[in-house]
Amino acid sequence: MGFKEYVGKRTLHGVVTIFLAVTLNFILFRIMPGDPTRAVSGDPRVDTATRLALIAKFGLDRPLFEQYFIYLYNLLRGELGISFVQIGRPVIDIILGRKMVNTIILMGSSMFIAFILGIVVGVFAAWRRGTRIDISFIVISLATYSMPVFWFGMLLLLFFSYYINIFPIAGTITPGLVHPNFLAYAKDYLHHLMAPMITLGVSFFGGYFLFMRDTILDVFTEDYMLTARAKGLSDRKILFKHAMRNALLPMVSLMGVHVTFLISGATMTETVFSWDGLGRLIYDSVRNNDYPVLQGIFLFMAVLVVVASILSDVVNAFLDPRIKEAVD
């Protein structure tokens, strides 16, 4: 099948998966013990008028089966319910706003840095296998892999915020400060982004490094590497043109799988650094039992993971000429 067909097929799989996730979401929140409508409207913080409106909107007095379809219909219209904590504020507003941007910036930048560093260092370590540099990086990676993300963040804060003041202690920007222009704002923001980004990035670096190194070592055993040597090509060409291109393929697939862990990692990082994003929102919503928001985030994340997974598969297919021809 051609490339386009592959993308189409993959997207279809993704849609099916999202659909399943949506259904799972529905089931989980509806099977909570006690008043089945509690998830949406039963919280005592919601006043009667709102509650009645919610019951009407979500058809909570109708049989479960009908509720399901109303739920789906509402979803498609972007109607995710109303927050318990921020009374009256639609969940979808809370999610698709400032917080989402903050989280995406954090996740994106950390992943990017971890990936690039992991690849470059991984290739280098594989090439200089067994040397002190190689072994040191392996040890560093195993150490950071074994470290809980949030603890590393806490250490960073302890040492580089409390003892030596390099990083700010919390938030995305200095509270109360009025920025004269966008540049100043960006600077402040980036300054606050440093520590959480390093934390999340470091937690992923180890995995990427070890995987890349492993993959490249595997590639080295392939026959075409001997051919490349036989052709008298330079070391750099052999490494980057011949070896790395082949090793990148599994790495890209790995990234797709990692998004889930990225979400968990981001949650914990945001909690430690009080970074105003979706992760922190989860933490707060758990404390406050704000179920509609939790449900909304759950959905958002499912979509995010599926999209990332489709993207990584598509990129993989694009890079690997063999897949374009292969049937599933």
Binding site: A143, S146, P148, T271, N289, V305, S309
Partner: protein
């Protein structure tokens, strides 16, 4: 040797002694790895501490035995937390939670993954497709939101944590087992077994599964590392059992009272070090295991 009768019993005995021999050879190889032995040492140390907790811990971890935020001193080796509980005792008892969650969650997740991967890879067809879609679904489930949903529904407990980690973690094993099954299925001896009339279940369990067991085992150990880290994360976020001392829980308290901003080292550093050490222990062991069991890695040494 020539005239031994091939009874079921004698075959079983021979298979057993072969396994023992193989294990001894494997152990000899493992002993050579310093990384592996160090890892094993760490693991066993924590297991010892966990088992001996009631006798080794100086205080009841849940009791208020001192003033809040006491610095490390004679009475309390690592000081006290924000309400006056002894941190050192909490650390000792916390090892139980970590080990329990690590071992059980990993075992369940590997069991589920292996079952699904084996069946899916062997039977193929519509069953395979359905199972793969389900696997895709479970890959997308991040454990944190799922955990809090479960916490809301059934309450907070260690077993819930184990359940959630297992339920969100089996997909990796499933995929690997399925891939292995697909390739082993094509091997001549499987075809031979089928032509002799072996049942599907026999082929799966007697022929395919034994070949995958080493890789499954390696996977399981890595799973333990992930489970322990996941448990600490979930406890940190407040999704664990607040009545059971756990390292993640200690760190949660530390975070809540802003211990970083007030420089309370003893509150922050020891629990993290414990998590790290136990994770490193399992990670190192799994690294050595992988070196021994993975044939491609052996080939590379040439």
């Amino acid at each position: 040797m020539a005239q031994e009768s091939l009874t079921k019993g004698s075959l079983r005995r021979e298979r057993f002694s072969t396994s023992v021999r193989r294990f001894r050879g494997f152990w000899a190889l493992y002993r050579q790895s310093r990384i592996g032995m160090f890892g094993l040492f760490l693991v066993l140390s924590f297991v010892a501490v966990a088992l001996a907790a009631p006798w080794v811990a100086p205080y009841d971890p849940r009791a208020l035995v001192g003033k809040p935020f006491e610095r490390p001193g004679e009475d309390h080796v690592l000081g006290t937390d924000q309400v006056g509980r002894d941190i050192y005792s909490q650390l000792i008892w916390g090892s139980r939670v970590s080990l329990m969650v690590g071992l059980f969650a990993s075992a369940f997740s590997v069991a589920i993954g292996t079952a699904i991967g084996l069946v899916s890879g062997y039977l193929r067809g519509p069953i395979d497709t359905v199972m793969m879609r389900i696997t895709d679904l479970f890959i997308t489930l991040p454990n944190i939101p799922l955990m809090l949903i479960l916490a809301a529904i059934i309450g907070r407990s260690v077993w819930n944590i184990i359940l959630v980690i297992a339920v969100t973690g089996w997909t990796g094993t499933a995929r690997m087992v399925r891939a292995q099954t697909l390739s082993i299925k094509e091997r001549p001896y499987v075809e031979a077994a089928r032509s002799v009339g072996a049942r599907d279940s026999q082929i799966m369990f007697r022929h395919i599964l034994p070949n995958i067991i080493p890789l499954i085992f390696a996977n399981a150990i890595v799973g333990i590392v992930n489970a322990i880290l996941a448990e600490s994360g979930l406890s940190f976020l407040g999704l664990g059992d607040p009545t059971k001392p756990s390292w993640g829980l200690i760190l949660r308290h530390a975070n809540e009272v802003g211990a970083m901003a007030t420089g309370r080292l003893w509150f922050i550093i020891p629990p993290g070090i414990c998590i790290m050490l136990i994770a490193i222990g399992f990670a190192f062991s799994s690294y050595s295991l992988d070196q021994i069991l993975n044939p491609r890695l052996r080939e590379r040494r040439g």
